[in-house]
Every structure is written in C-alpha cells, then in structure tokens.
Point group: D2
Chain length 365, copies 4
C-alpha cells in the first residue's frame, strides 16, 4: 500500500502539515448507512487535543472536524449517514506560531525527523515538524471515530499503563477512572505518583517515555488473515506508524519470551451456552493472525518527546556543528495524548479486517 | 496489500502448506541484472532447515530450492541473472508424516491456529498446521536471499539474545560466534547455559520463548516514508507476520518508555570526512520512519512452541471438551530457527523501500 | 488498489460530490522539488470548467483550486515547491441548485448511475448525480497538472476527433487550432460542421457522443511493465474511469483487427544520430506494455449525455413505472469537456509509471 | 497494484516464461469451500491450448495444470475443496524448441516486445518471447476456472466476432455453435468464409487481427465501484493486459460516439415479477461503473500476430540495421485463442468485485 494511506477495504489517507492551513483525511471504503454526528467524532478529537492539562503541550487548537463529502444529512439535520463514497474530513490549523521555529529551520533537532527528511527529500517543511508533527494524528482520530461504527458491538479503549519506570498496579484497573485524570490512567493510585513525577520532568524542560495499552472488545472471532495480513501484524504496523512509537506487543508480548508452552497456552472449554470459552488470554485475542473472539490486547511504547530544553550536540544543514535546545510548547510525555490515537488505529485496523473477511468468506453479517 | 503478499515494489507472494506437495514464493519486482547462484540461496535455507541439532525439530527436510522463472543462466551455467520478471521459487515437501496428525484433525491445539482457521474458513488443512505451519517461512528465506542482493552494500544479520529468562551478555557480542553454536548466539558464554536449560525443556516435552535481534548495516540514509510506510512500521509488520511472534521493537524499543529525552537523544557531529556522525543509536537507525544511515536494529519476541507433550484442556470441532497433548517432532524453542527468518524479513523490507525511494525521489543509485 | 484511488507510486485519491461543500484530491507520492504555481494548475481547470460556450453546461463554477498541504512557498511568494508529502487540493462548489434535482430524488434517470448506486449502496446522494457527477473530474485535472511536471520533457495534449458521425479530417490536424474553437478540434474545417450539428442537438434538448484522442510526447522509452501493469492497460483503465467512457483504444486500436501483420508492423532503422527510429507508429508508442519512445496515442469514446429533455420510460425507487425527462443545465456533448480530463488521466498514468520504473530498474533519471 | 498481479480481494499473480521449466499462478483470496476438479480447470486450458487446428500454432503443449496448494481432497479423491489459503497452480512447459529462436536473440522483431524489454531491463529472455509470450495466459485461464466458481450463477462465454474485415452476422448468433468450429464463431455461416480467408493468410506466412466478444450472464446487480474501480474500468484493464490487445469497449462502445442520448438510453419498466426490467442493453450491463444485473458485454481487438514470414526492416541490440523474418510455429490469427483468455479475465474481474462488494456493503450472499 502506498505511503500516506493505510487499510485495504477501509482505507484512510491523511494529508497536512503542522503549520499549513489545514490537515485532514479521506476515508475510502466506509460502508453505506453508517450513522453518526459531528459530536460523535469531535468527542474523540477533544480527547486528543492539546492544552487540556499542564502535562501536555500548551498549543491551543480547537481541532474542530468538518465533513466535506460522503454523507447525507438525515431529517434531524444533525445525523450524518454515509453513502459509501469517500468521507473527506478536514481540521483547520489555527494556532500556528511559525516564528517559534525560525531558528531551527536549518538545525537538526536530535531525535526528530529533521535530518532524515532532508536526506530523503532534499527539502523540508521545518515549521513545527511539518508532516512529521504529531498534529497529523488528529486526522487518524477522526477516521477512528468512523471506524468504531463499522463493526457492530465493537468497543475500543486504551489507557496509559507506564510513565518512565512508574507502572500502574494492574489489580487496580478500573475503566471508569480513565477519563477522570489527565493521564488516562486506569489506576487511581498511580495518579499522584505520575503528577509529581511529571511536574519534575516538565519544570526541568525534560521529557519521558510511556506505554499505552489498547483493548478491543466485541471483535468477532475469525477476522484477520494469514499470512501477511495477520490481524496482529496490521495492528503492529498501524501502531508503529504513530509518531515516537518504538515497540509494539500483542497479548503477553515480550513476556512470552520468558515462559513455557504450558504457561502460555490458553486452554479452552465449552461454555454452558454451547459457546467455546478461553480460560485465559495470553494470546491477546489473536491466534495465527486471526481473532479468537476474546479481547484483542495490544501495547505500545512511546519514546520521550525529543523536544527538550537541555542543549544537545547536533549539526545543521550546512554541515556545521551546532548545539540545539528546543523551545516552544511541547508535551513532557507524548504518551498521554497517544492514548486516543492508539484507540483510533486499532479501531481502523479491526474495521478494515471485518470488511475484508465479510467479503472473502461471507461469514460475517 | 493483500493477504499472502508483502512489499510494494519488491513484492513477495508465498503459497503452500506443511503437507502439500510443495511450497514456494513468487518474487515480483526484483530488479533486472541481479546475479546469484542456487548455492547463495540454499545457504540461507540451510540455516533455517530443521533437524540440524537436538534443539530443533527432528523433521527431515532438505529444503532444496528451485528457481522456475525470472532468470537467465550466465555462460558459466551456474550464475543466474534476474531479468526483471517474476522469480518463482519452489521447495518440495519430502518428509510428510500425515499419520502423525490424524488424531488432531478435529481437536483444537491450544496456542495454535486450529480454532481460528476453523472459525474463519469453516474448513482447515489440519496436517502439520497446514498454511499456519512455520514451513511457510522457508519461502521467505529464499526471497530474502534475493533481497540481500538488491541493495548495494547491505548486510543483514541476526542473533538469538534471550531464551526464557536467560539473556546474553551484550558485552560479549561477537558476530563470528553466531554460526558456531546451535543457537545463533553471539555470546559464547551463554551457550552452555542455554544447552543445559533447553535440554531440560526438551526432555520434559515442554517449550520456551525467545528473543531475536536483527541488525542491518549498510542501509542508505533516507529510505522509508512517512506516514504509513515508515521503515520501522514495515519492519514491525513483517516481523510480526512470522509465526509465534508476539512483540517487535526498534532501537531502544520498550526501554525508551523508561528514559528521558536527554538520555534518548542521538547527538550528532560532523565527522572528519565531512559526513554526519551519530554519537549513539538509541533510535535503531530510524527517525520519523526514515533511515539515518546508522545500523537498523530490531528485536522480536517469539512465544514458546504451542506443541507440547503436557495435556492441556481444549475442545474439538464438534463442541466436545477434550484434552490435548501434541506428539510429533517439534521445536522446543522455535525462536532458534526464527533467526534466519527475521533476517529475511528485514532484508526484504529494506530492498522494497530502497526501490520505492529510488523511484520517488530519484536520489538513490 | 482501492476504489477512489489510482496509481501505485504517484497516487491520486479523489473525494467529493456534485452538491457538497467542496471536492478535491490528495496526490500522494509526488516527488519533492517539483515547482509550480496555482496559475499553472488553474489553466487546466479553466479548460475543463463549465459555462465556457453554448455547447457545454451553463452551470457556473469558477473551479478555483486551493493547495492545502505538501508544498512550501518559494521566496517569490508564488511558486510552490513540493516537499514529497501529500498534496491536498480542494475546489469549492459554488453554484449548486439543489432544487433542480428534487423531483428526480427517487426516479432513476436512464443511462445514469441512479439505479445502480441505489442497488449497491441502498442510499444515494441524488443531488446532481452526487459522486457519479462529472464534477469529480475537476480534481483529476488538478492532479494532472502536477503529473505533467513529474516527467522531464513530457507533453500531453488531446483533441476532439469525432462528434456523432462527423469525424475530423486527420490531414488537417493542427495542434495550434485546438484551443481556438469551443470543441478542442484540431481541424478548423470541422468546426462549422460541428457548430451547426450541435446547435441542433442542443436546441432539441438531445445529446450526442464523441471521440477524444490523447497524444503524449516525450515519454521515455522503457516505461510500463508486464504483465498486469502494462502502460496501455493502465491508460485504458484510467481513461475508462472517466464518466461516460465506453471504449478505449491504443494506436491502431480496433483498426488493428482489420489489417495484416505486414501492415501493422512498425519497422525500425538506426538513425543518423545512432538512435533507433521507428518508421511508423501503429502500436501507439507501446509494445508489450512498455513504451517505445514514440508518441503514446490513445483514443476513447464518450457516450451521449444521458440527461436529455425527451421523456424516457423508467422506474422509481418505490417500484413504480415513471417517465423521466431531465431538466437542468447539461452538456449536449460531454465529450468536449472530456478533452482536458483525458489529458490529465494520461499524464498521471505516465508519471506513475515513470516513478515505478525509476525505482525498479534505476535506469531513468 | 503490482506488476504481475491483478485483483484486489481475488488476486492472481502469474509467473513464468515461454521456455522456462514451467509457468503458473497463485490465486490469493479464493473463498473457502469452493469445490472443483482438475478436469474442470483442464477443460478451459484445453480450449486455449495450441495445436488444435491448422489455424493456430502447431506448438504441442499438453498444458496440464497441477494444483500445489490451497485445497483439500474430498472423500471421492477427486473433488478439491479450497481452504481459503493461496491456490498455487503450475503448468510445465514441454515442447520447447529453443533452437528456433537462436537467430533472433539479438534481433528486434517488429511488433514484438523485444526492443522495449531490452530498453527497460537491459536483459531479455529471447527464447519464445520469454515473459511476453502468450504462453503466460495459460495461467490466467486456470485462474479463471476457479473464478467462475466464486460467483453463484455466473456464466461467462466469449466468441470470435470478426477476423480481418469479415464480421459475423449477429442475427445468426448461436452459442451452441461456438465450440463446433475451430474459430469459436457463434455464426455458422461465417465459418467457411473464415476458413478460406485464414488458409490464405496462413499459407502466405502472414497474419491477421480479430475481435472477441465476451458476455457475462448472472452478474448480480450492484457490483463494481466508483470511481477508480469501476467494473468496466477493471474489465478494460484486464482485457487490455492480454497480449496483442489494442482496444476494449463495453456495450455500445465506440458505437456510442455516433448516437444520441435518446438512442443510447436503456429504458426501464417494472416486470410482472416485481423486478426491474431494462428494455435494452446499450450500456453493456454497467452504469456508473456498477453492474445493472443485465449481461455484461465487452469486446476487445487483437492485432495481427507480429511473427510473420515476410521480411521486415529492423535493428539489433548492437545497433545494426537488420532484416527480420520470423520462422517458427505461430498463430496466423492469435485472436482465436484469445477467446478463452478473454473469458478468464472477465470471470476473474467479476469474482474480485463480487468479493469486494460483499465486504464493503454486506449486501451480497
């Protein structure tokens, strides 16, 4: 597939830079008859948008999404119904301070894509990171909002499970807590720990990495495909496409390297309702690339924001040694805002596979 | 892209089951003029083939690769030269003991794809796992042999770095050791530890997970592509497509979650030769989805072989509760034979991106 | 490839309906460093836009194109330079008279896509034909403007060669005439004939078919690809995707059915400059799916506009027999405005193959 | 899509040269549970194979197809059942007379792909045309045999309707005649005319073009897709990919250019069974790229075989002027054997769209 598109039947193409007039996406392949309101989509965008707490960038963007095509308005004047044609969505950029970036037009910020874009393209939109800015992910979140409606009964949720070395206590997991704190933490006891820790990071102009866990429930058994469109493979691919992600795992993930076949096996029994039951979910809901019907569980690691106040050694595009410190408004922990993005990418992946399987096997409704 | 194909310009389509007459692949998009011998390819297949030590499956397959199209013989009668048309390669299955599998025709082996294939397709080739068998990876290794020739100066090597909880000592890393022991271990000191540990696993009819690290050197700076064909994304996707892989990471990977922006930054300086130098490689050779010119570093976790002798609870396709123990010839640690497979997948990914970038930017030779 | 996208490395995704707020396209894979102005693009859009003579629809649309991403402004404040990231272009719809279409919301206009959209999707944007409107082609023309800049030395021109049974005299062919008459006719002698004929068609509320010929000069020899991405195949595919096109031919086309191998052969000789010369071009510049270096010649047939004033028998979506006559502002011969669209599709196809071949063989600069 | 693959969900990848050991295809995406026998497939291959009358090449190939993967044998030991995994099919080349081709290793035969392959790839398998040989189409015919089973109730038939200037009388059309003469002619009265005409061509060592018409019945209404995967577009693309095809048309095709909107309209009425009826089929069963439920009608023009005995002027790969006459065993009219190939390509296209639509809209069973 090409370079700014993902998906095979539910296809998302995104466009736009940090400091252009707008960014957006085209969702091609959305089935007809899907009903949604702008408010439905906006809710997910609001979850991702900057400026919502002192722990994320103070850039102010309303991130209001517009739908430009692919829908008809229902008689209530509010509900949109997809017609099966491409859904084009656009988000205007409003808070661009291009001046902030002038001095780094030629300097390669360590950890950023500045150097590699220049090597690859020979030209680079340096304003706010241009295309490599995480602003691009706003479009994904809009697409994810649609994707959630495609698969009947699907729920995709994510939470932050680690900041630096501070991990949640999984015994405390409570979905109801996730939207009650600025970290999307499912464990209320970790919140004060993270607050204190991140305040220190933020005041030092530093940054820190994190881990997000995404759980999709209601995924029908039997979607995904051998061999090169495994459901876990496409989830890994799509999560790894998120800015700053350096690792992805499914189910037990890297933990699976440390255990035996006996420990890792998910045993089965027939349930009282005549349906198969898995007695555990080490596999993260996927076997042989195909969903088992259990929750699909994925985690991804986000590196610390590369924009930090401490000077780092670097070079510029003229071949001079320079020292770079990145001012401006940055996330001390980009992992926080990655939570709704991870959800969106998993939702899109599942919607895509659902449509493929309905086509190929005709077994899904 | 579709389901048994990967790559965009260097495209590999594989086919075949564990117990059919043969398996193979079609490599479409291999540039013309690539020179190789059958022995070149066979060397990689030999590295992957079963029966080479007591730590891998005792199935006996010669895994001899034939080239059926896409090449002309040079005057030496041995060197093949690609013509730019599809290279079809075939490996015949010779040691099929279908009888071994009769009793599991209807039983879902925990951790295997038996249940999910049945749910998805309503029919399943149960012999040796059918299409979900790791035998399919022989075709990938053949394709990888070609891919290595596509990018001038490319070297792709891998090693096993962890079995169960036993990790190598990275200070001992010595590539010369990797082919000197049955584990592809780069650390000679870990070899006796793993031998003893795996002998125990094997004798117990158990199995254990592992971690493989792949390092690609000679990757030109500037290949890869935002946003949905990032080099790390495609590597993650292709490694995750290998049987039993449950996690993938690039550079610092999940370790990046635990460190600060200062620690994670790869600083740069101009070298004495006027070329940029990175002072570290936390990024694993990729920034913003594009190669930096440093070694590309990826790791993947393989779960323990699901085929174990201990009885596990399961069900059969008629909806009965059954207990399953998997006899037959199995790898106590499939991670070992995943080493050449991981190399092949990374080589194919890099070859594909190299061709794409040569097309799109015209900057590569 | 998916449904609203064409191209493999130079990929164009279009979106938008006749009566939505806007329509547009995302051009993904445009090489970096391409320089153009909005005026460059607008010139092609102006050629396609409605209302320019009495022989085309009187709908009034300025069809002003905006570029939303993928470029940086040069210091002159006018020249745009592509950065290699997706170029998003948008054209706002301004002259929508949705009232015109109210009465056909449920009636299937013969020859239109009304019935088939309803059968396929179960919902249909009836306003102006929705997605099936030829307004969508404005986005293609914008993309074509970019494509023309991708291949050094490429010129793509088209002309109308037939309206109804009235064909041009090819001996009169003069490219300089094409923009001097409202038909894009290369033969000045046909102009009064067509004027009189089309006036009659127009006044009768009728419509008539036409044939367009596209000629691309400066196509490097050696682009295109066996077997399923032949250059002629992709040209045929992309021309056939234009609304109302019912036939496509390359070089001699259907005429090749009537002649012998001797007549059809394009003989060759070495030229005085040491370059091969073809002594004729029956093949239309393509052999075995690959360009010969001669002009690429394609023709396509456009059916008469289906919107006519005469009543036709039809049904409505409730299953009633109805009679339909289509009022509103329609082209008596849509073939006229198909001229710049055909050019755009051929330009995009050639740009795409040029990039593919540069990648795959490394032989193009 | 890539270069030796076509289709999006029903994907066919072919490989092989005229004079290699074998050729074949991989059909990826064939639904599970399709039942067929080797004899089912072989029947189509037999229709295409050489040597069946004096009007086709005297090369002797049995063209026996083997199925290497993707199926299980039913209990009758003969019926194959697809499992949903890739179906690999292989046809061995048996009658290769490479000596025949030695003298043209360096000479570019006019009308053949010799020159363009050399320009593109810099290397060329000259034996029998290598990859550009029509032998490749045997693999398509095998794939088509499977495709026919995918869509319930589908019938795809083709006939030769024109050789040189000699056209059939459509009033005589009788499908029962098609397999009763060596031309696949549906009009028995044309048979003696063509026999006499082609005998003359053959004895002169000349060749002649032809037109094939393909008709698909039982295509469900509502398959196909705007805008760049129109059913007619994909049919045009796939037919144009057949060797020597220079033109494709749907329904009225180029004839649509000559008629008015009134004449071209396919009127509708409700039938007595409550189903819509079209009163004519000028559209060839497709409106707006989507099937109407009427027969899909396509025609394609095949140029005269380029291999002729008369000397033609050409050059060789060393840049010398040479004269070329092509000995060997050639078809005086390749259009004859294109009949089953055209059927196969249309069957594959419809199967692919059927699966896509089942996925995207869920409206097909």
């Amino acid at each position: 597939m090409s370079h700014n598109t993902f998906g095979h039947l539910f296809r998302v193409t995104t466009w736009g830079e940090s400091h252009g007039p707008a960014l957006g996406c085209v969702v091609d392949g959305c089935p007809p008859g899907i009903r949604f309101t702008l408010a439905d989509l906006q809710a997910w965008l609001d979850k991702r948008k900057p400026g919502q707490s002192r722990f994320v960038t103070q850039r102010r963007e309303d991130d209001l999404v517009k739908v430009l095509s692919g829908v008809m308005l229902d008689e209530d004047g509010e509900t949109m119904i997809t017609t099966g044609t491409p859904v084009s969505m656009m988000i205007e950029n409003t808070d661009q301070r291009s001046k902030d970036y002038g001095e780094i037009a030629k300097r390669y910020r360590p950890g950023h894509a500045d150097y590699t874009y220049d090597v690859k393209y020979g030209i680079r939109d340096y304003r706010g990171g241009g295309r490599s800015s995480a602003r691009e992910t706003a479009a994904r979140v809009a697409a994810g909002g649609l994707a959630r409606k495609v698969v009947p009964g699907l729920t995709v949720r994510a939470a932050l499970v680690q900041i630096g070395k501070h991990k949640i206590n999984r015994a405390n997991w409570d979905w109801a807590q996730v939207n009650e704190n600025p970290f999307f933490a499912p464990d209320p006891e970790i919140v004060p720990v993270w607050e204190e820790y991140l305040d220190g990071i933020r005041k030092a102009g530093s940054s820190i990495g994190a881990v997000v866990e995404v759980i999709a429930e209601g995924v029908p058994a039997g979607i995904g495909a051998p061999i090169y469109a495994k459901l876990d493979q496409d989830i890994a691919s799509n999560l790894m496409s998120i800015n700053a992600v350096k690792g992805v795992e499914i189910g037990n993930g890297f933990g699976a390297a440390e255990i035996t076949g006996e420990e890792n096996a998910d045993e089965m029994r027939m349930g009282n309702d005549g349906q198969p039951i898995f007695l555990s979910n080490h596999a993260g809901g996927i076997l042989g690339g195909i969903s088992t019907g259990q929750p699909v569980v994925a985690r991804f690691a986000i590196k610390p924001t590369s924009s930090i106040l401490t000077e780092r050694r670097s070079i510029d595009s003229d071949g001079n040694n320079v020292d770079v410190r990145t001012k401006g408004r940055h996330d001390p922990c980009v992992g926080i805002r990655a939570v709704p993005i991870g959800e969106a990418m998993v939702a899109c992946t599942i919607a895509d596979h659902y449509l493929r399987d309905r086509g190929q096997t005709g077994r899904l409704k």
